[in-house]
């Protein structure tokens, strides 16, 4: 099950870790960040995270980022000197997206519907690589396909039942599932109910 995560080319591009001032460039940069966060969280089956965790995660830290071969340094006596960092002449530095920029990426995800803050102080969040509405649609499609409208399910059955093993939403975390069902509820396609040992849902 463990796959090596394939980082996108941007992850090795130093400017990726600086919030770009050019608006058009920034748009592209943020889109790339959002995509990276979602695919990273999907692979690692991470449905929620704290901002602290995010800061420390390899997601926003490329410890092996290479910047340049050499560097021009301005010395105190105002003379310019070309210095090399390591023996190989390759400079190993860190690519670290500053926390303010991380916040901007998270806000972008929230606007797109892929992120929800779990507390008022915005210290932890729910991350959904598919938006709740999209999950709701998939679930409802399966319900209709299998002719199970007007059936009642427990939440557990939906995500962990045998019948759903082949479905994408199999193994979905409860928080996301709930939001998916809430979306369906809004469309009057489902109703969240209380069952014997927790919650369940009735589909229409």
């Amino acid at each position: 099950m463990a796959m090596s995560f394939e980082w996108p080319w941007q992850y090795r591009f130093p400017p990726f870790f600086t919030l770009q001032p050019n608006v058009d460039t920034r748009q592209k940069q943020l889109a790339a960040w959002c995509s990276l966060v979602l695919s990273f969280c999907r692979l690692h089956k991470q449905s929620s995270m704290t901002v602290m965790e995010a800061q420390e995660s390899p997601l926003f830290n490329n410890v092996k980022l290479q910047r340049s071969k050499g560097h021009l340094f301005l010395l105190p006596d105002s003379s310019l000197k070309y210095l090399w960092r390591k023996a190989e002449g390759r400079q190993q530095t860190e690519g670290k997206l500053p926390v303010e920029s991380i916040q901007i990426v998270l806000e972008e995800l929230r606007k797109k519907g892929n992120l929800e803050w779990l507390d008022k102080s915005k210290s932890s969040f729910l991350i959904m690589w598919r938006r709740p509405e999209e999950w709701g649609k998939l679930i409802y499609q399966w319900v209709s396909r299998s002719g199970q409208n007007n059936s009642v399910f427990t939440l557990y059955e939906l995500t962990n039942g045998e019948d759903t093993e082949d479905e994408e939403f199999h193994g979905l975390d409860e928080a996301t599932l709930l939001r998916a069902l809430q979306a369906l509820q809004q469309e009057h396609k489902a109703e969240i109910i209380t069952v014997s040992d927790g919650r369940g849902v009735k589909f229409f």
Binding site: F13, P14, P15, R67, H71
Partner: protein
């Protein structure tokens, strides 16, 4: 006292009487003279004194001859006086009571009650003074327009120079033919006529204070031509008008506020394309690295890179290592 001229005392056309006072004595400077009792008349044009005993003895000075007037307070045994300071008499003056006088002022004292307030003479005299000021103003205007004539001639010459340098620059760029000796001589003669015997270029002096010192000296030489004092503010304001006046130079203000003067023909945007090439070749560059490579000041190098970023050709990497520019792969890669 030699400023006075004999007069009939009759007022001219357009001349009106403002005020008159009897019992006025005239002094030549500090000296008492025979004109000790007369009627002083102030008109719109002149100060007239007529002898009370001998009406035929009547003299006047033009108000425009008055420089200024002051009051002298009364003392013990001394009456209050008005001191009237005068301009020198014109050479072609009409005859008057005195051919010459060593004094450039007269005094008026008033025996009878009241005296003409100096203010009234002053007020009327101001008209004369204002007339003189107007003349002076007209002369100054003339001087300024002559000076600007020089400046516009200078600008025309600058335009010719620019045309020539453009053609030379193109030849270098297209590697088309040699720069003829004639062109070289023409170019050098233009520079000489502007007072630049040995043109300063970055090659000769490199970047840095030496370059700026030499440039400043040459600038001082050029700017001395029609003007004496020029504040930096005025220079900037003048430069702001360059484009509007369709002169061959223009002022360019970068987003950061940095101002440069460039040739109208200079296309910074085109320079940006070549900057992108340079950065791409090296992978990434800082402003200092770029400046050194291209041979320009770090300040202008930064402005060019920032412009390239603004235009979307470059993007930045801002870290503890410093500010570094990369080709904008965000836009070019899928």
């Amino acid at each position: 006292m030699d400023r006075f001229v004999w007069t009939s005392g009759l007022l001219e056309i357009n001349e009106t009487l403002v005020i008159q006072q009897r019992g006025v004595r005239i002094y030549d400077g500090e000296e008492k003279i025979k004109f000790d009792a007369g009627t002083l008349l102030l008109s719109t044009h002149r100060l007239i004194w007529r002898d009370q005993k001998n009406h035929e003895c009547c003299m006047a000075i033009l108000l425009s001859q008055i420089v200024f007037i002051e009051e002298q307070a009364a003392g013990i045994g001394k009456s209050a006086k008005i001191v009237v300071h005068l301009h020198p008499a014109p050479p072609n003056k009409e005859p008057g009571p005195f051919q010459s006088s060593k004094n450039s002022y007269i005094k008026l004292s008033f025996k009878e009650h009241g005296q003409i307030e100096p203010g009234r003479i002053r007020a009327v005299g101001i008209v004369g003074i204002e007339r003189k000021l107007e003349e002076k103003r007209k002369e100054t205007d003339k001087n300024i327009s002559e000076a600007f004539e020089d400046l516009s001639k200078l600008m025309i010459k600058a335009k010719e120079m620019v045309e020539l340098s453009k053609s030379i620059a193109n030849k270098i760029k297209d590697k088309q033919g040699d720069i003829t000796e004639d062109e070289t001589i023409r170019f050098k003669s233009y520079l000489l006529s502007m007072g630049i015997a040995n043109p300063v270029t970055r090659e000769t002096y490199g970047s840095g204070t030496q370059y700026h010192m030499q440039l400043a000296k040459q600038l001082a030489g050029i700017l001395q031509v029609p003007l004496e004092l020029l504040s930096p503010e005025d220079l900037v304001n003048a430069c702001k008008m360059l484009e509007a006046l369709k002169l061959p130079l223009r002022l360019r203000v970068f987003d950061s506020g940095v101002m440069v003067i460039e040739l109208q023909s200079h296309k910074e945007e085109e320079m940006v394309a070549s900057a992108l090439e340079t950065v791409s070749e090296k992978g990434s560059l800082t402003s200092e690295e770029f400046a050194k490579l291209v041979g320009m000041s770090v300040l202008l190098a930064k402005e060019r890179l920032l412009l390239a970023e603004k235009m979307g050709h470059l993007c930045r990497d801002d870290s503890v290592e410093g500010l570094r520019f990369y080709p904008n792969l965000f836009m070019t890669q899928s």
